[in-house]
């Protein structure tokens, strides 16, 4: 399968990423990361950056590969399959916001930093509801002053470049770039039950910023573009994770013996696996279609992306939930990777808005077109 726009061989990309992650993000390594409650697996990050994964979507003029939604989906699917602890999506979303902000030297420098992996990005978590923020951006002292609070920054404590949604004095929304190391910024890590990732909340107290930190973009439009990309990325993570945990479960059902036969021969278990398989084929088809539409800039891309996120997250959760049950006692242990998938599935259901928020927005868009 080839991306007709970019000429990228998607199967080769998938196999390449999968091969690297099999070594660098094995279940053993992911568990070690989770046990240590780390913020960043620096070795894995450097490897990803070295292989060009962080350069994926940045424009070529800024040192990127200029690839699009199809490639982003392939990589995220593999990260989901491996339940990999890599703050890659936040970095890609930061690049996406900057891609709307022109080609000034400052934008170029930030983008290059993100593309080469010398910087890690995190962005405000947009949801399908109306865009909102607890950050106030005012003018002052020949620049800007930021006050307030940014919560729910995915992998935010690993990031050194934050792109945040703030409200200006005139009530309008704006995207602003902040380095969390400067005075007046107080970041706090919120450990999530899914230890492959975390959230961060950051408090800003009279933080002065030079005026070029305010991005010259249509804030609302960027918010919607971000929502579509993030929804599809999470949907891809779900699809990869769900396929992996279903495969693991099927292997277990074929080998685990009870009552003198493999437990996979019992019909009650077979039928559940068949249902999971059909759900995966169905949701995977919607994900592929939505990704394709987004890559082509289709009008219906946002609606399909939101629908795909709601469906893929729900399918992932159902499969991961049942995987623990189908594995029996071993699936309930800390030792076994089942719980890593279950917890990632649960977090995925909430990232960038929950299922009901996505469905409500889909309904709105359908009704507008009806």
């Amino acid at each position: 399968m080839t991306d007709t726009e970019t000429g990228m061989d998607l199967i080769a990309l998938r196999d390449g990423v999968r091969g690297v992650l099999a070594e660098q993000a094995s279940h053993e390594r992911v568990k070690a990361f989770a046990d240590a409650e780390q913020i960043l697996d620096k070795a894995l990050w450097d490897q990803a950056a070295g292989l060009g994964w962080t350069a994926l979507s940045a424009p070529e003029c800024f040192g990127g590969l200029g690839l699009g939604a199809l490639e982003l989906g392939v990589v995220q699917q593999e990260l989901g399959r491996a339940v990999a602890p890599l703050p890659w999506l936040g970095t890609m979303l930061a690049v996406e916001i900057l891609s709307h902000a022109g080609e000034g030297p400052q934008v170029a420098a930030w983008t290059e930093g993100l593309a080469t992996g010398t910087r890690i990005g995190a962005v405000s978590m947009v949801t399908p509801e109306a865009l909102s923020t607890d950050l106030i951006l005012s003018s002052g002292a020949g620049g800007l002053v930021l006050n307030g609070f940014a919560g729910d920054l995915m992998d935010g404590s690993a990031a050194d470049l934050l792109i945040l949604l703030a409200r200006r004095e005139d009530g309008k929304l704006a995207w602003v770039v902040v380095e969390p190391s400067i005075d007046g910024v107080t970041p706090e890590k919120i450990g999530t039950v899914d230890r492959t990732r975390h959230l961060a909340q950051v408090r800003f107290t009279d933080v002065w910023l030079p005026s070029e930190r305010l991005l010259a973009v249509d804030a609302e439009r960027v918010g919607q573009a971000l929502l579509a990309t993030a929804s599809l990325a999470i949907a891809a993570d779900c699809d990869g994770g769900a396929n992996a945990i279903l495969e693991l479960t099927l292997d277990y059902l074929k080998t685990r013996q009870q009552f003198g036969k493999p437990i996979g021969s019992f019909q009650a278990l077979k039928h559940r696996c068949a249902e999971h398989k059909i759900a995966l084929v169905a949701s995977g088809g919607l994900l592929a279609e939505a990704t394709d539409r987004l890559a082509r800039g289709d009008d219906e891309a946002l609606r399909l992306a939101l629908a795909a996120k709601a469906l893929c997250a729900s399918v992932y959760f159902r499969i991961a939930e049942d995987a623990v049950q189908l594995h029996g006692g071993i699936g309930y242990t800390w030792e076994h990777p089942c719980h890593l998938y279950l917890k990632r599935a649960r977090l995925n259901q909430q990232l960038f808005g929950g299922e009901t928020a996505h469905l409500d927005r889909v309904a709105q868009l359908l009704l507008a077109a009806a």
Partner: protein
């Protein structure tokens, strides 16, 4: 005015297939033909219609489709079809759904199952005789597979066929034959070898003339109140050897071709109609500011079901691409996923319609004969949805098939 009388004389001669090479013109011609020929009030006239009117209407509709070559366009050219591919078929189904045209329900076996069987396994004489019969004389076929004690376990069928010279003498009972009461012929499975080591190995495939002496048909009234299904009793019925399809005892393998038809173009057309119904329901709800739109739970249920409907259409399009690449679909798994997925969505959606219909949907109303799966009569549509989850292999049997043959779980 009786229903059997064609009520519309098209203003001009339509010929969609003459525009085969230009998809836009092809679509326009199909649309123009449908606009000219489909009676605007056919659903009203078929509401509560009796069987004679229904059959007459079906025959009229088939003849109209045949006049413009759109009854058998999917058949190979050598067999009287137009050899059209997926893009043309998609257009036809989209336009048929858009126009709310009747489906040729009475002819489903004639148009899909019979050719799927004869193309691969029939003799030249059989293809000449019977495919021509469908195409030129609108002959109706039914299927005689299931028996009272051979449903999901079809291979244990016990209808007996014994060779005596140039004929087989057949005795037994068949059940669940759709439109058997109106059929001219039947695709029949019977056991010719009771000693075969595997029960699948002793079955032979026949063409049964429904007018042959010894054939008795009795309609079964189903839960909807209608009598689409029939029982067929076979009492010393003689079938000429020339009407055997394939070799003796090779029937089970041939039957797989017949059944694969059920999961191809038929479900394609039904899913296009379902997509139309979703959009029409949404537009109607918007227009009337329906209560369910403001009920968070119901609206979200509809929206989630809408996504599932989209996934079904995407799966079917992927399947059609597979069919185009490999018409025999040897080891294809998508058709089985699709049958289960379609059954589930149909049940879920018709159930949704019943619930939003409230008490009013419980009032007895005559059904639209031949109205398909979305007639607007919510309870009727809901009950009819079982036809998909039970017939042609229950959802449960198909899940076992997926688990064992696709997922590799042990028997």
């Amino acid at each position: 005015m009786t229903l059997s009388t064609p009520t519309v004389s098209p203003a001009r001669v339509f010929d969609p297939l003459a525009h085969k090479d230009d998809l836009t013109a092809f679509r326009a011609e199909v649309r123009a033909w449908l606009e000219a020929v489909v009676p605007a009030d056919w659903q009203t006239r078929m509401t509560g219609a009796d069987e004679a009117d229904y059959v007459a209407f079906q025959r009229w509709w088939f003849a109209e489709m045949q006049k413009v070559g759109l009854a058998t366009p999917h058949w190979p050219r050598d067999w009287g079809g137009a050899d059209i591919g997926i893009r043309h078929q998609t257009i036809i189904f989209e336009e048929v759904a858009r126009a709310g045209a009747p489906g040729p329900e009475l002819f489903v076996i004639s148009l899909y199952h019979l050719p799927a069987t004869l193309f691969g396994h029939g003799s030249q004489a059989q293809r000449d005789r019977y495919l021509t019969g469908v195409k030129e004389r609108g002959e109706v076929w039914c299927q005689g597979f299931s028996e009272p004690n051979a449903g999901s376990d079809l291979a244990s069928l016990r209808t007996r066929a014994e060779r005596r010279g140039d004929v087989y003498v057949v005795n037994g009972q068949k059940v669940w034959s759709s439109y058997g009461a109106f059929a001219d012929y039947c695709l029949l499975l019977a056991r010719t070898d009771f000693e075969a080591p595997k029960k699948q190995a002793g079955i032979t495939y026949f063409i049964l003339d429904m007018k042959a002496p010894g054939v008795t048909v009795r309609p079964i009234r189903q839960a909807t109140g209608q009598s689409e299904f029939c029982e067929i009793f076979l009492d010393n019925v003689e079938i000429p050897v020339a009407d055997r399809i394939g070799e003796e005892n090779a029937g089970w393998m041939i039957a797989q071709s017949t059944l694969s038809a059920e999961r191809g173009l038929i479900v394609f057309e039904l899913s296009e109609r379902m997509a139309r119904a979703f959009d029409a329901d949404l537009a109607e709800a918007k227009r009337t500011d329906a209560a369910w739109l403001k009920d968070d739970q119901l609206r979200r249920e509809f929206t989630a079901a809408y996504s599932d409907m989209v996934t079904l259409r995407l799966m079917i399009r992927a399947m059609m691409q597979e069919v185009e690449a490999d018409p025999h679909m040897g080891s294809a798994t998508l058709p089985t996923y699709i049958k289960i997925h379609f059954s589930n969505i149909l049940r879920r959606y018709t159930d949704f319609r019943v619930r939003i219909g409230g008490l009013a949907a419980q009032a007895q109303q005559p059904a639209v004969m031949g109205g398909g799966h979305q007639t607007g009569n919510a309870m009727h549509d809901f009950i009819l949805s079982y036809a998909w989850s039970i017939s042609g292999g229950t959802v449960e049997i198909l899940k076992t098939v997926i688990a064992e043959r696709v997922l590799g779980l042990p028997r």
